[in-house]
Symmetry: D2
Subunit: 140 residues, 4 copies
């Protein structure tokens, strides 16, 4: 399973190098992740209303070619790993010519808002646990 | 009473025009406002912990000359108006040569987090009400 | 003539008040402005490649109700005024229920990149001048 | 050699999780990197004026504990590796209690603005090459 989300680069996302500032790819990954989650039937906004959060615990990015204002980019998001506590998403950002611009991944745990301590997804969101387990077992 | 806060322009704040993106001045105004409030003895972080917020209800900006990466800017913040419910801050951003780059103001009310409805400052934070009243009556 | 651009609120656009940070509306106005310009047949990315820029000279925002993560917002953009040198765009941000969240305007001049001094649009982009004049004369 | 840069967390840097949005640490790393470079006697703003850029080619971040509004953070920056073409900076973000919040690194090459192709630093900025070589050889 994978999600593809497309949008035009915003002017405000550029820097004086004339390309998209490298911090924005983490924002784009997050847009992809939100849509991936929605596509699996789980809504992150709802999850937060139920007192849970999915903070990032690590992030890795490889910058191959810069995105530019005027480009229409696509964020491809998959679930690369999931072990019941920690989930890792993988992302590829590409342009209209299908050139890969940036690759990366982010890992997350689910925490309760008050405690900010990781919980087993099975205990708090059993349906999401089952879905994520199935997605990872079936591969990309 | 006025507050002056200085810092170096961040690279990420520039856009491909080669100058600071115009949305960042609202962020800088906010930094100035935080420090102005701290200087009067009221801490915005504390205020939020007590369930209150000070959302922006309007903002006006005049862009005279752009700030650039490499500049060290100063945000001058004053309290321009206060009527018990609504407070208006005035800001001037200048560079090392004391050239004014951007002028503006933002108006705010105090709301309770749950209701998001304006309250009389005198009822929730009487000390802050007295201080703000005094600052405005004494002029800039 | 008006342009409507819609997109989902990004998580990164929220702040700890639980709503979209007020500086992001200037970024959204810019997205609306880009699309308005494209819809008139003039491409801002192209304009910059030809050595021209359209910096913001003033901006005014009225915050009526906050946008939230989970909202899908629409930016309505029109050209409110144009006098040959200065152009003013007007914007309304609304949610799925067609509630207006934020209103505002931004004024711009066209400058040459090296000089950063306003030029008459008629002299540098006569087609755009004609189109903008016609749009303003015909009203919203 | 290491550089330490300190500043207060900005309200705009928070998200609705109530902590600093994870993309901002890349912005803070960049502030640390700018100051590290200045401390070695090389000014990144000047380097760009001479037609060179130092784009990020990869970035890795470990999020240990979130920074919050009200925190005063310190970015510690060192040069971890340098091989004549590629340089890797290492960063630690900590709070007033000296708790490490985020660790990470970014790698860069120097490119000429027009070509966006890596060059040998020795050929374009021999003094900076010598300084960076010496810093790395002498260890952190």
């Amino acid at each position: 399973m994978k999600n593809e989300t497309s949008f035009a680069v915003r002017y405000a996302e550029t820097d004086q190098m004339g390309v998209v500032h490298h911090s924005n790819y983490l924002v784009w990954f997050e847009v992809g992740r939100t849509n991936f989650m929605n596509a699996t039937g789980f809504n992150y906004a709802e999850l937060e209303k139920n007192g849970m959060l999915a903070p990032v615990i690590d992030a890795n990015l490889q910058y191959i070619q810069p995105a530019k204002y005027g480009d229409h980019v696509t964020i491809m998001t998959t679930l690369a790993e999931y072990n019941g506590i920690r989930m890792t998403y993988y992302y590829e950002v590409s342009n209209e010519k299908s050139e890969i611009l940036v690759k990366g991944n982010t890992s997350h745990t689910i925490v309760k808002k008050e405690a900010f301590k990781p919980v087993r997804l099975r205990n708090v969101l059993p349906d999401m646990h089952d879905t994520y387990k199935r997605i990872v077992e079936e591969g990309l």
